[in-house]
């Protein structure tokens, strides 16, 4: 009994844990398909793919992605090269200095990114001036500065990854290559580098992801080349739309895709190795191709499911037209809004009558108008019309209806601040 209780609690714990981990991502992804102008899951309005279209029409986002990719590529090249050099140095250096050297090389990870960003900016600005170059020189270029700034600490991450692999390297292999006539360069290129390749690949992925998601350092160095994170941060300040959910969904989907791809590939290699071990030389040539891609390869199966799902979704998206639904919802909202306006008017009317009556009685009246009530969880305190008060009622009639059914009452809705959409 005690045992089963333990098992149940473990499952409960796991569920809670994964909810905590994945819940926000799932909700964010779902909001990308809701036609509501503010990213939310409930109330569900219409299934729509319009936010993906909007995302790909947003020049700032696209430009941000482009910059992020360029900077990511630059950071990968620079960080992996520096990380590899640092890792090699760590294995070569005089043992007594090793601990000190390690601390020095790891330090950038511990320094706040903001500090790195400022110092990068200041340092290269000094250099730039020392060389007598103008503000438009290469050294003050946003891409250059961001790559340099991010690499200062991403190189340390890369080094950690590379050192782990390098510690398993048998120096005798390099010696064997030298002994067989290779130069040091040849031994490095033909023996050490192939050995390091998996770690270099991991380090490159790590560097790219770290660069892609970096904000604190980049915010000081981007200059005229804002990255995606910078663009997102600037956008959020003016309120977010489900287009950002769509972007998040794409990133999640791509991550899952590549993770599955990698997993399937590893699993396949494992299976092939197992097959090779069993097979004799004669059988080998034919047998490697035989084990079907899926046998015992869960990741591969998931990958195919994923691919099928993607094709289905994209297919649906091209064929599906949510126009009717959106029109319905719009109509419904308009009706709701009208109804509410009617109610408001009625209330105002009553109030005015009351006030007049009171004024008639006392002369001085309080303005505490009872707030228009709707069903939102926050009692609509954030709703614009609760603040707007009297002035709003006339204008909102003909223009876009304020959607105030949400938890935040549309405070982040761009429509509530600017009416350019």
């Amino acid at each position: 009994m005690n045992n089963s209780f333990l098992r149940v609690s473990i499952w409960v714990y796991l569920v809670i844990f994964f909810l905590y981990l994945l819940g926000p991502l799932v909700i964010m992804s779902v909001t990308a398909f809701n036609s509501s102008a503010f990213p939310r899951m409930t109330p569900w309005e219409c299934l729509t793919f319009q936010w993906f279209g909007e995302l790909f029409q947003d020049q700032r986002i696209l430009n941000g992605i482009k910059n992020s990719l360029i900077i990511g590529a630059g950071t990968v090249v620079l960080s992996v090269a520096m990380g590899l050099a640092g890792a090699l140095m760590l294995t070569q250096i005089w043992p007594k200095l090793r601990a000190t050297y390690y601390t020095v090389i790891i330090a950038p990870i511990l320094i706040p990114g903001v500090v790195l960003g400022i110092s990068t900016l200041v340092f290269w600005d000094r250099i730039n001036r020392m060389l007598g170059l103008g503000a438009d020189s290469f050294l003050s270029n946003g891409i250059f500065l961001t790559v340099i700034g991010q690499s200062t600490f991403i190189a340390s991450y890369c080094m950690l990854v590379l050192v782990a692999r390098l510690q398993r390297y048998d120096v005798a292999l390099t010696e064997a290559a030298l002994d067989l006539g290779a130069t040091h360069a040849q031994a490095f290129r033909k023996i050490l580098l192939p050995f390091m390749r998996p770690a270099i690949a991991s380090a490159a992925v790590l560097a790219f992801l770290a660069s892609f998601e970096n904000y604190n350092t980049t915010t000081f160095t981007f200059g005229e080349y804002p990255t995606l994170t910078i663009e997102l941060a600037q956008k959020v300040r003016y309120g977010i739309t489900p287009a950002i959910s769509a972007l998040a969904f794409l990133i999640v989907a791509l991550t899952v895709f590549f993770a599955l791809l990698n997993e399937a590939k590893l699993k396949r290699q494992e299976l092939v190795a197992a097959a090779r071990k069993k097979a004799t030389v004669e059988e080998l040539a034919g047998k490697i191709k035989l084990p079907s891609f899926f046998s015992g390869n869960m990741a591969a199966v998931l990958l195919v499911v994923f691919a099928v799902a993607t094709i289905t979704v994209v297919g649906t998206a091209t064929a599906y037209n949510p126009g009717q639904c959106i029109a319905n919802v719009k109509e419904q909202k308009r009706l709701e809004a009208e109804q509410r306006i009617q109610e408001l008017r009625k209330q105002r009317e009553e109030q005015r009558k009351k006030r007049e009556a009171e004024e008639a009685e006392q002369g001085g009246a309080q303005q505490s108008a009872p707030k228009p009530s709707n069903n939102s969880g926050f009692g609509n305190v954030f709703a614009p019309n609760s603040l707007g008060g009297d002035a709003e009622e006339e204008g909102s009639d003909s223009e876009t209806p304020p959607s105030n059914n949400g938890g935040f009452g549309g405070a982040f809705d761009p429509n509530s601040l600017q009416s350019d959409q």
Binding site: D170, A172, L173, E175, A176, A177, L178, D179, L180, G181, A182, T183, Q186, K190, I191, P194, F195, R276, K277, V281, L284
Partner: protein, 370 residues
């Protein structure tokens, strides 16, 4: 068989800080020889090998290969190929790529490399295994691939650093014969490092016995076994019984030694020490376990030893009798099993007889650790 390229070490010293790894080594290795450095671990034999292959420079003295001073010439420029203790096969390359790595460095075409790999694979009796990875081979096969890889570089001198130590006994014995055969087929100089005296004796033309950086003796296997220079060489190579004592009388090449318990015994002075050992010197006499015979009771004289039997054991091919000996160490007697019946002597005194030529006298010195 070609004459091959010889290797000479002249007054070779190698120091690491204060530690002297090799002390004044002088060795002449003839071209085409199978030459072994034999010694316990840490005696400096691997250091010598690394100096010959070029991975470290001697502190003093010279390494000559084919008469040319090798100072300042890197390992990739020397006509040597080294087989590492752990073999150091390139794990990510297939067997044929491993074998022809030296050709790849020289820029040979793939077809050429494959052809050469096939030839060498035939030679090491692994035909058709070229497309496997080293990890898919057995220990003995990897061993042979390492040899093929070294031979593919067409070295004048092949250096082997205890390459058999990782193999199990059966395979090791098999590989001994195989290595010797390969050496005779290719006719180049082999320099072999080992701590296993069986390997050294069976394969080598000449052996250098090393102790703590010093070379005690250089000779062929028979000489080293039968006529050791030092107490260390006598006790390290093969099993040996030691008798400590003072020289009582020198009679030409023979001497009488006064031992504590066994009385005065006669022995042959080892060749290198003839004329050097004088009366009154501390000396050690060595007699191999198989050189004893059981004498009739009551026999006595200067080539008889009487001692109490502590225990006996039957080893199959030999019957071992252990008796109390001089200086705390047991005397081991191995009698060949020829189908005769063995009595149990435990607890009794027995008299052992030896021939003077089988008792070797050397100056007292350090014994090999057991």
């Amino acid at each position: 068989m070609s004459a091959g390229v010889g290797v000479d070490l002249e007054n070779l010293w190698i120091r690491f800080g204060d530690f002297v790894a090799v002390r004044d080594a002088n060795v002449n290795i003839n071209g085409g020889d199978f030459f072994s450095f034999l010694g316990p671990s840490g005696c400096g034999k691997t250091t010598i090998l690394r100096a010959v292959s070029g991975f470290l420079d001697p502190s003093e003295g010279k390494v000559l290969i084919g008469g040319n001073d090798m100072r300042g010439i890197g390992p990739n420029k020397r006509p040597t190929a080294l087989i590492f203790q752990n073999l150091a096969l390139f794990p990510l390359m297939k067997v044929w790529e491993n074998i022809t790595f030296s050709l790849e460095i020289k820029g040979a075409s793939t077809a050429e490399r494959r052809k050469r790999a096939d030839e060498l694979l035939d030679m090491i009796a692994l035909p058709g295994q070229g497309d496997k990875l080293p990890s898919e081979l057995s220990g003995g096969q990897r061993q042979r691939v390492a040899i093929a890889r070294a031979l593919c570089a067409e070295p004048d001198v092949l250096l082997l650093d205890e390459p058999l130590s990782a193999l199990d006994l059966k395979l090791r014995q098999h590989m001994r014969t195989e290595l010797r055969e390969i050496q005779q087929r290719v006719g180049i100089t082999f320099i072999y490092i080992t701590h296993d005296q069986g390997e050294a004796l069976t394969m080598s033309d000449n052996i250098a016995v090393m102790r703590a950086g010093v070379i005690d003796q250089i000779a062929d296997g028979k000489t080293i076994y039968n006529d050791p220079n030092t107490a260390f060489a006598a006790s390290f190579v093969g099993e040996n019984n030691v008798f400590r004592g003072k020289i009582k009388q020198v009679m030409g090449n023979e001497a009488l030694i006064a031992t504590n318990r066994s009385g005065d015994l006669v022995a042959r002075i080892s060749t290198a020490n003839q004329g050097k050992l004088k009366e009154g010197d501390d000396a050690m006499m060595f007699i191999r376990p198989e050189a004893f015979a059981i004498a009739p009771d009551g026999a006595s004289g200067d080539h008889f030893v009487t001692a109490r039997v502590t225990h006996e054991e039957f080893e199959g091919n030999v019957f071992n009798i252990f008796t109390e000996g001089d200086g705390g160490k047991e005397i081991k007697v191995s009698l060949p099993n020829l189908g005769q019946s063995f009595e149990d002597h435990t607890g009794q005194n027995i008299t052992l007889e030896y021939e003077t030529r089988n008792a070797v006298l050397v100056p007292a010195g350090e014994l090999a650790a057991e």
